[in-house]
Amino acid sequence: MDALIHARGLTKQFGSITAVAGIDLDVTRGEAFGFLGPNGAGKSSTMRMIGCVSPPSGGTLRILGLDPVKDGSAIRGRLGVVPQADTLDNELTVKENLVIYGRYFGLSRADVRKRADELLEFVQLSERADSKVEPLSGGMKRRLTIARALVNDPEVLLLDEPTTGLDPQARHVVWDRLFRLKQRGVTLILTTHYMDEAEQLCDRLVVMDGGTIAAEGSPLELIREYSTREVVELRFAGEAPEIGEDAFGDLVQRVEVLPDRLLLYTDDGDALVPVAHERLHPQSVLVRRSTLEDVFLRLTGRTLVD
């Protein structure tokens, strides 16, 4: 498989701030690849370098086999970009936004009109074709930005936090569209700080923190490698009691103490619950499967969304 994106020791420096501190990446055609990490992890900086709108400060970066510094324009012609903040043209209507964007990519006027209608259909905005952009809801704007990114039929779609700030229903609509694109074979590269989004959409992801990659794998692999099958969450009326790692012997592999709760990582939640009840007298007990959130906590000692 050819690597669409290939990076070695990629860094981005803003003055004295190191936003990206030497990362290695290989994204192959057709996969949905994610960057999972909290605010400030360096996700957007990485995405902007891949989008050829931010020159790397160091390391090597190849996109579609080309050099982003020399061949930026040619590369951008084959990418679709959904930036973190919408950059829709507020002086134009919904459909005009797609038409002119297609023209920027060199499509003919006739082709781009047809394409715009198809894309509006795809993101369910046909009824709003002649509306201004301003009055659209956040979810609609996001969908329009996604449609706009698809106008040139890109080989790779870059999505920087595609659903941040959207309500749950709007998020599901976006996820559904992205899922369809994935099925059509479009290579997706997305960033998120939502573990559910990463789990839903990504075949493979990297956990990013402080400008570096802490771990890499499929969501399942990461959970298997860095967490246990289940987690028992205990909440207390007052402060959580101090307990050691081996307080429960073999039953608990790891303990995390958070401000509001205690997490016991185990492979057998059902067996652990009665024991935990008896020993610690928690106010409430919840048994759940491990998630990427737990992976992140294990890797960085911090929670993903605060």
Binding site: F14, G51, V53, S54, P55, G72, S73, A74, R76, G77, L79, V81, P83, A85, T87, L88, D89, N90, E91, L92, E96, V99, I100, Y101, R103, Y104, F105, G106, N152
Partner: protein
């Protein structure tokens, strides 16, 4: 011609296309500032001119009409190049979205210059038609005033775009006015250079508007001399420098 030629050779013409899309609906707004030079022609040319008599054997309205035509081209170009480009750069995020496509900073700089020049040309045409109807154009050379206005528009559009990339807030537009108003009043608009002492004359000669007025006036009065290509070269040069500066600045501001 000028920026249009550059725009068609780069992807800059796509910015022109975008702006047409915008103004197709809001074409009325493009006429803000359109009438200003006409007011000057009436009040100064015909009103004040009544007491002035002739300058160099030319009636006063005939004398100031080409200057006002050059100012019209300047105003249209500068207004668009500063106000609109500043807004798009700092607030509208219009260029951010363009730079994610095959377009680059040079396309943006050239395309917006072409558009600003076009606005200047529209103002110049509007003024020309009115002035000609009033008989304020004396020579067939006057027809060359419009291509001259394009050169004027190009010079000021390029400089305007270069300047726009340095503006940080709307307050900074005061500074643009601080330069534009005296330039308008003292660039040989309303009286010949010969009223100034020699030192001051040389100062005025480097004013872009002086060169613009000198060029347009040569054509409308039919006094075409070897100064004309010099004036034109000067205006083209400042336009090109402005575009080059804008290209660099935009890359620095947007491609971080």
């Amino acid at each position: 011609m000028t920026a249009f030629a550059l725009a068609s050779r780069t992807r800059g013409h796509l910015l022109f296309e975008r702006n047409i899309m915008v103004y197709r609906r809001a074409w009325m707004t493009i006429f803000s500032g359109f009438f200003e030079p006409l007011f000057y022609l009436f009040s100064m040319g015909y009103g004040l001119g009544h007491f002035v008599g002739k300058i160099h054997g030319v009636s006063y309205p005939h004398y100031i009409a080409p200057a006002l035509l050059a100012s019209a081209a300047m105003n249209g170009a500068v207004y668009d190049a500063t106000t609109n480009v500043f807004w798009k750069l700092r607030y509208g995020k219009v260029y951010d979205s363009m730079l994610a496509t095959p377009l680059g900073p040079v396309d943006v700089a050239v395309g917006e210059t072409a558009w600003a020049q076009f606005r200047g040309l529209l103002y110049a045409i509007g003024f020309m038609v009115t002035a000609a109807a009033l008989g304020a154009v004396q020579s067939w050379w006057g027809l060359l005033a419009l291509p001259a206005a394009m050169v004027v528009g190009f010079g000021f559009a390029g400089v305007g775009i270069g300047v726009a990339t340095f503006l940080r807030s709307w307050q900074d537009f005061e500074l643009v006015q601080v330069v534009l108003l005296p330039m308008f009043l003292f660039s040989g608009t309303f009286y010949p250079l010969s009223v100034y002492p020699t030192v001051l004359q040389w100062f005025v000669r480097v004013s872009p508007l002086y060169n613009a007025i000198s060029l347009v006036r040569s054509f409308t009065l039919g006094h075409v001399t070897w100064y004309c290509p010099l004036n034109a070269a000067y205006l083209l040069a400042i336009g090109v420098v402005g575009i080059a500066v804008a290209r660099r600045r935009m890359a620095g501001l947007l491609l971080t």
